[in-house]
Subunit: 458 residues, 2 copies
C-alpha cells in the first residue's frame, strides 16, 4: 500500500483531549441548565432526506447543503441524455437523495410532525449535535460545527421567552462569562412599520439588510435601503426608532405614541412589555437584558420575540440567539404550532472564553497518579496497587513498559499528572510505596492504605 | 410551499427523550471507566477525505462508504466522455472527494500520524461518535450507529490487554449486565498453524471463514474449508484445537505440546500466558474471562491478542470486541506503532439491557415539580416560586398556559413528574402553596421554604 498523506477536509477540525475538556466544560453547563429547566434530550440522524432539507434555508442555504451520493450504481437510473450530464443542477436530484443536516431546527420540526400523536405538548426538547454547511471556511467559520438548541413547541405563552432569558443568564453566570448583553426585540414592530409604510411584503428583505447594521453602520444602512428602493418616509421612521436611547420603558412608550397606526406593531410592543414584566417580577430578573429595536436576526422563520447574546469584551458576532416562530412544522403537515427556541454558539463561546482566559483552571481529565514501571518483578505488585487505587475510584495509570524513569516522569509531566508512585524492589520487600508530589517535588514513603486515604482527601 | 411527508432515511433513527436517557446511562458508565483508566477524549470530524478512508476496509467496505458530492458545479471538471458518465465507478472519484467515517479506528490512526510530534506516547484515547455504513438495513443493523472505542498506541506491553479486560469487567458490572463472557485468543496461534501447514498467505481468508463458526457450526465450517481448498491435515489440526475443552492452562499446555514447530504459534501461547498471569495476580481478576481458540474476529488488521464479549442470556452477536494491531498508522507514514483497542457495541448493549429489563429504574430526566398555571394573576407568584426552586437547584417547570387543570395534570403524568404544585388565589393570599404527591395522591399545604426543604430531602 502506498503511503497516504494524512489530512483533514477543509473547514473541519479534530478536537484533541485538551480542547475536548474545555468544550465538555461548556456543554455540561448548558446541558445541566437545559435539564433543570425541563427540556428533554433528543438526537436525530446526521442524514436527512433532501426533500426534508431543501427549500428551508433559502436558495443560498440549498447551495450549502452537503449532499450524499446514492449508493451502488447511482448513474443507472439517470436520464440518458447529455443535457442532464452537463447540468449539475438537473443531475443532482437524480444521483442524491440525502443530505447532511444544516441546522437542528428543521430536523426538530420533522421529528415533531412525525411523532405528533405520541408527543405531550407543550414539548420542551434540547439537542446538542454537529451540523454541516459547505460554506467557504474562514477564521471562526467551519464546515462542521456544533449547535446547542432548546425549544418549546405547542404554546404561545411569553412565559417561555422569559424563561429562556433567565436560562441564558444562568448559563453565562455558570460559565463565568460576565461581559455580555442579552438583546431582545420583536419582529412585529418592524414588520408593522413596514406594513404601514406599504412595504409589508418586503419585510423579510428589510430584516436581512437591517441585520447588517452592526457591520456597516447606520449611514451605509440608509444608503443600502435607498438603493433597494425602500420609501424615504419609511427610512426616516426607521432611523428614528432604531436610534432610540434609554431603557425599555422609555423606548416602548415612544413606540406606543408613534405607531398607533399599526395593529401589528402595537402587538409587538405589548409582547415586549409582557416579557419584561415577567423578568421584573423576579429579583435581579432583568440583569443584562436590553431592548434593541434594531435587532433583526437573519433567519426568516421568526415571527415574534427575538433574542441575541453579544459578548461585550471581545470583538466577535453573536454568541447565541433565538426567537419565536409560528408555523415551523406546517410544511410537514402540522400547522399552527407556535414555538420558541434558543441556540448557544458553542464555538464562539469557546473562543471568547479562550481569549478572556476563563479556562485557566481546566486541565486534562486528571489521572491523579502514575505508577512507574521498574522491572517485570515489581510490575505485578504495581499492577495490584493500581487495581486497589481504581477500586477506591482513584484515577490511576501504570506505565506499560519498564523504560527509563526519566521517560516515565516526562510522561507524567506532559500529561499533567500530579503524583507519581515509585515502586522498586525495596518498596516491594517492605510492602510500601514512595509517593512523589510532582508540583512540590517532595517524596514520602506510605503504606497502600495511607496512600488511598491521602488521595481521597486531596 | 407544498406539504412534505416527514420521513427518515432508511436505516437511521431518531433518539427520543426516553431512549436518550437510557443511552446516556450506558455512555456515562463507559465514559467514566475510560477516564478512570487514563484514556483521554478525542473527537474527529464526520467527514474524512476519501483518500484516507478508501482501501482500509476491503472491497466490500469501500462499497459501503457514504460519499459526499463535491460542492458547486461538480460536473465541470469531469472528463467529457460518455464512457465516464455511464461508469459510476469511474465517475465517483471525479465528483466526490469526501466520505463519512466508517469506523473510529482509521480516523484515530490519521490523527496520530498527523499529530505524531505533539502526542506523548503511549497515547491513550477514547472516542464516542457515530459512524456510517451503507449496509442493507435490518433488525439491529443501522446505517448510522455509535462506536465507543478506547485505544492505547505506542507500546506492545501486554499489560494493556490485561487492563482492557479489567475495564470491560468494570463496565459490565456497573451496567448491571452480569450474563456475559469475555473471550480472548491470539491471532498468532492460528496464523502459526496456517504457516506451518504452508497456508500462511491464506491466514486472512481463514480468519474470515472461522469467524462464521458460531453461526454455521463445526460441520459446515469444515465443508467450507474443504471447498476453499485448505489442506486436509490443516483442517484436522484446526478441528482438534478449536474443540479443546478445559481451562486456559489446560488448553495452553496442549497447544505447547502440539505446535513446537511454529515459532509464531509459540509466541501467541506465551502472550496468552502472560495476559492471564496479569489477571491472576489480582483478586477476582479472571472472572468471566475465557480462552477460546476458535475466536477469530473479522477485522483484518489484528496481529496479536483479540478479545470479544458475548452476552450469554440473550441471542445476539458480540456486544464488544477488540485486539492488538502492529501497524495501524503505517499507511499514513508512521510505521511500527503497536497498539491495542476495544470497542463497546452500544446499540447491542442497549438491546440486551432492554430485553433483560435492566433499565427499569431509569426514567426521564426528572423534572421534580410541575407548577400549575391557574390564571394571569397567580401566574407571576408561581413564576417567582419557580425561580426560587431553580435557585435551590431543584428541577421545576411552570405550565406555560392557564388551561384546564386536568390537562396540566395529564402533562405531569405523561412526563412522569412526581409532584405538582397548585397555586390559586387562596394560596397567593396566604403566601403558601399546595403540593400534590402524584404517586400517593396526597396533598399538603406548605410554605415555600418548607417546600424547598422537602424537595431537597427527597
Amino acid at each position: 500500500m502506498n503511503t497516504i498523506k494524512p489530512a483533514l477536509p477543509r473547514g473541519t477540525r479534530d478536537f484533541p483531549p485538551d480542547v475536548m475538556v474545555k468544550r465538555n466544560f461548556i456543554l455540561n453547563i448548558i446541558r445541566a441548565a437545559f435539564e433543570k429547566y425541563g427540556f428533554l434530550p433528543l438526537e436525530t440522524p446526521a442524514m436527512e432526506n433532501l426533500s426534508v432539507l431543501s427549500g428551508k434555508y433559502g436558495d443560498e442555504g440549498d447551495q450549502l447543503l452537503f449532499k450524499i451520493l446514492n449508493s451502488g450504481d447511482f448513474m443507472a437510473k439517470v436520464d440518458n441524455d447529455e443535457k442532464t450530464f452537463l447540468d449539475y443542477g438537473k443531475l443532482t436530484p437524480q444521483i442524491s437523495e440525502k443530505g447532511l443536516r444544516y441546522d437542528l431546527t428543521v430536523p426538530f420540526a420533522r421529528y415533531v410532525a412525525m411523532n405528533q400523536h405520541d408527543i405531550v405538548f407543550p414539548f420542551k426538547r434540547y439537542q446538542i449535535q454537529p451540523v454541516w454547511r459547505a460554506d467557504r471556511p474562514q477564521k471562526g467559520r467551519y464546515r462542521e460545527f456544533f449547535q446547542c438548541d432548546a425549544d418549546v413547541i405547542g404554546t404561545d405563552s411569553l412565559l417561555c421567552e422569559a424563561e429562556i432569558a433567565i436560562l441564558v443568564h444562568e448559563v453565562f453566570h455558570n460559565l463565568g462569562l460576565r461581559d455580555y448583553v442579552l438583546k431582545v426585540n420583536n419582529r412585529k414592530i418592524l414588520e408593522g412599520i413596514a406594513e404601514s409604510a406599504g412595504d409589508k411584503k418586503r419585510a423579510g428583505e428589510f430584516f436581512v439588510l437591517l441585520d447588517k447594521l452592526d457591520k456597516i453602520g447606520l449611514h451605509h444602512l440608509k444608503e443600502l435601503l435607498e438603493e433597494n428602493r425602500f420609501h424615504r418616509d419609511f427610512i426616516a421612521r426607521i432611523e428614528r426608532i432604531i436610534t432610540l436611547t434609554g431603557d425599555h420603558q422609555h423606548k416602548l412608550d415612544f413606540l406606543e405614541r408613534n405607531m398607533s397606526g399599526s395593529e401589528m406593531a402595537r402587538e409587538g410592543v405589548g409582547e415586549i412589555r409582557k416579557f419584561f414584566e415577567y423578568l421584573e417580577s423576579l429579583e435581579d430578573g432583568i440583569k443584562q437584558t436590553e431592548l434593541d429595536i434594531s435587532l433583526a436576526r437573519g433567519l426568516s422563520y421568526y415571527t415574534g420575540m427575538i433574542l441575541e447574546v453579544k459578548a461585550t469584551g471581545v470583538r466577535i458576532g453573536s454568541i447565541g440567539g433565538g426567537g419565536r416562530y409560528d408555523n415551523l412544522a406546517g410544511v410537514f403537515g402540522l400547522p399552527g404550532m407556535s414555538g420558541v427556541g434558543f441556540s448557544f454558539g458553542i464555538d464562539r463561546i469557546f473562543d471568547v472564553m479562550e481569549e478572556l482566559n476563563l479556562f485557566s483552571d481546566h486541565n486534562l481529565p486528571a489521572t491523579k497518579i502514575l505508577i512507574t514501571n521498574f522491572d517485570p518483578e515489581t510490575e505485578k505488585y504495581a499492577f495490584q496497587i493500581l487495581s486497589k487505587l481504581r477500586r477506591a475510584d482513584i484515577r490511576a495509570e501504570l506505565f506499560p513498559d519498564p523504560v527509563k524513569i526519566k521517560k516515565q516522569l516526562n510522561y507524567a509531566n506532559k500529561r499533567e499528572i500530579p503524583f507519581v508512585l515509585m515502586i522498586g524492589s525495596e518498596e516491594l520487600k517492605k510492602g510500601v510505596c514512595s509517593l512523589k508530589d510532582m508540583n512540590r517535588g517532595e517524596q514520602e514513603e506510605l503504606t497502600i492504605d495511607a496512600l488511598i486515604e491521602k488521595m481521597n482527601r486531596i
